[in-house]
């Protein structure tokens, strides 16, 4: 008999938080500062609120379809053929996110820490770990997340405390100098990355042992993630200034370089980097997990785990061929990706919700007649 894997609400909370923070914490401050300058924190607030709203929509969608995961929703709402087409779209969505994350961590290590190591080695080790984690299943990696969680929080708080002396509060002024337009543009990119990607978590939701409290921890996890991102945005702007923030490729790493008490406690950026490398690992793991799961559903594979290895290789290859240079990748993820995200992450779930509500309404009407 197949063992049913379950995760607790707290574990789900941790995974949500890691998913939201993972990889975005490294890029978001400079992406937002590039468009909104010193108002990037406003984008952080607005985007965070909208992000929670999006998650609320996902939760409503999940509620309306009673414990089904996303692929099952597609099938039940759009019928067999359309369901399959949408599943394929969703698979590509997962694949591209996973590839971008993997490429991102590879580029980061190459640019900042180990410029001579081939990117294939770094990405290969990373994806190997992800494949390995998937083999053990959800229950195990949720528990490991629980072990790492205190470290992540500790490193974050430690880092924030270490950078506080360098803050110059005046840097966030003037507020709203360039009007509302740049803020909207920033919010748009911010929604696509990471909030609209939270759609993937719909695949994980059915694994929770208590659905009602899991929904609560989804919201809480998103809020916590948004707060961590907001703090990072604030710190980057107040410590480095909006212009420098916008110009850095990996702004959080630069912040980490500046942390510490001179001559006593310094040069610990690589230790602080563990914070986001762990979160990135979990985000990649979840993306890869969703991909395996949905391909498994699509092909009706009983034991989905055997797909983890070949799909890991595919993610690896996609990451290598995904873009010829860093500039292309940056342009893609901040200007093109949000549009894809809007369709798959916002329009489709909204449609599913409406159709299901409509069906229910028709059913009730039939009963009365």
């Amino acid at each position: 008999m197949k063992k049913i894997e379950k995760i607790s609400s707290f574990q789900f909370f941790i995974l949500v938080l890691m998913f939201v923070v993972g990889s975005s914490v490294l890029y978001i401050p400079s992406v937002l500062a590039a468009s909104a300058k010193e108002d990037a924190w406003i984008v952080g607030v607005i985007g965070g609120l909208l992000g929670v709203g999006i998650v609320f929509l996902y939760i409503k969608t999940a509620e309306a379809s009673q414990g089904k995961d996303l692929i099952q929703m597609y099938d039940s709402v759009f019928g067999f053929i359309f369901g399959k087409v949408l599943t394929i779209f969703f698979c590509f969505y997962c694949l591209i996110i996973a590839a971008l994350i993997l490429r991102g961590i590879g580029d980061f290590m190459l640019t900042q820490i180990m410029p001579e190591t081939p990117i294939e080695i770094i990405m290969g080790l990373f994806i190997f770990l992800v494949i390995h984690a998937q083999k053990y299943g959800v229950e195990v990696f949720a528990r490991t997340a629980e072990i790492f969680f205190p470290w992540i929080i500790f490193l974050f708080i430690f880092g924030v405390c270490m950078i506080l002396p360098d803050i110059e509060f005046v840097r966030i002024f003037p507020i709203l100098d360039n009007g509302i337009k740049p803020i909207l543009k920033g919010t748009f990119s911010y929604l696509g990355f990471p909030y609209l990607e939270c759609l993937l978590l719909l695949m994980l939701l059915p694994y929770c042992n208590h659905l009602t409290s899991a929904k609560k921890s989804w919201i809480l996890g998103t809020i916590a993630g948004a707060i961590i991102l907001l703090i990072t945005i604030f710190l980057s702007i107040m410590v480095l200034g909006p212009e420098m923030t916008a110009r850095q490729s990996y702004v959080t790493y630069i912040l980490a370089k500046k942390m510490g008490i001179p001559h006593v406690f310094e040069r610990m950026e690589v230790i602080i980097a563990i914070f986001w490398i762990l979160t990135i690992f979990y985000k990649l793991l979840l993306c890869s997990f969703c991909l395996t799961k949905s391909i498994g559903r699509l092909l009706k594979v009983e034991e989905e785990k055997i797909l983890a290895f070949p799909l890991g290789i595919i993610i690896f290859c996609t990451a290598i061929i995904s873009g010829e240079d860093v500039v292309y990748l940056n342009d893609f993820s901040s200007n093109i990706w949000p549009f894809v995200g809007l369709q798959i992450g916002l329009l489709l779930p909204l449609l599913i919700l409406l159709i299901q509500k409509g069906k229910k309404w028709i059913k009730q009407k039939d009963q009365f007649n």
Binding site: I113, M114, P115, T117, P174, G241, M244, R247, I254, K258
Partner: protein, 399 residues
Amino acid sequence: MIKKILLLVMIGNCIVMLSGCWSSKEITELMIVTGMGIDRDSDTGEYKVTVQIINPGEIASQTKTERLEVTTYQTTGESIYEVMRRFSTKVPRRMYLAHIQLVIFGEELAKEGIGKTLDFISRNHEFRTDFFILVSKNGKAEEVLNVLTPTEASPSVSLYSSINVSEKIWAPTKGVHLDELLNTLVSEGKHPVLTGVEVRGDKERGDTVSSLEQIKPAAVTKITGFAAFRNDKLVGWLTENESKGYNYIINNIKSTVGSIPCEDSGIIALDVKKIKTDLKTNVKSGKPSITIKTNIEADLGEIQCDMDLSKTSVIKQIEEDAAKQVQSLMEHSITKAKEDLKSDIFGFGETIHRQHPKAWKKLKGNWDETFQDLEISFDMNYEIRRIGTISNSFQKVIK
């Protein structure tokens, strides 16, 4: 049994594979660069880069030889990156830049503009942001790096810590880090300043050990007043007093000594403990004005004249004089910036931008001209808290 052997092989494999690092750089393969000087080669027009390197054998080992603890190398090239690689033809090991303490620009290059060289420094991953950037006054950057220092093994480290100490207790000094410089360069309403450094004494002998074999070294490096820039070009130097005034205005003084002359002869020295400067800007019908509001708290440190310190009126008088003194320091540096340098090094424009963003949109176009007839007023508040361990001075009795 086979399982056990396999396990052992696996573990052995892990030990070998995991402990090896792909692009490992052992310390014995590295040359630690502590200082870097950038000049313009006047003959070819290329960049001339001087690096100061620590000689590890001399720093670390117990038995010292005749060789020096530091060495400088020099190479030219069209881009800094190219120069850094070309060094490999002279330097026996790979250069490691993460421990750079100072980057020094020669005065000539600074006058042409330093912007182009900064790109390499901010783009390269080995550079951190915690080094100081200086300009060599009346000379080349290489001259500063070639001066041996008596107490510290590495001249760069010596200058670095000298700036650090001086910044805390001596008003005219301020160290500028890379990110601050870049932020000011891209800011519309502020022009940068950099710390100045010059070589005093016999430049020719400064790089030989014989310079250190006498109690007073033949040549020493000395931190001087600020190098003031307009955009990335050096436009002039501030004197010590002007630098002091500058630091008062930008609120960058932690503690210092203020001295005012007595009525007859002698000096009153004040130990300045707390300084807070706020800039208040005002824009009336398109015309900006600035009020510099300064609060200073000080203790009486030394008094060389005959004054009755038991009277509050006397203390009030000293406070008033001291306030005037500080105000005139500020006025001097502002006049210099307005008339001589024509460069808003104080960031008044930036303050207006922050406090009156709408008015700034109209002002920013020709801010450099507007700055020259900017109306500036002062609001000084000087308080003397304590007068030290004795009350009235014994100066009178001595006479």
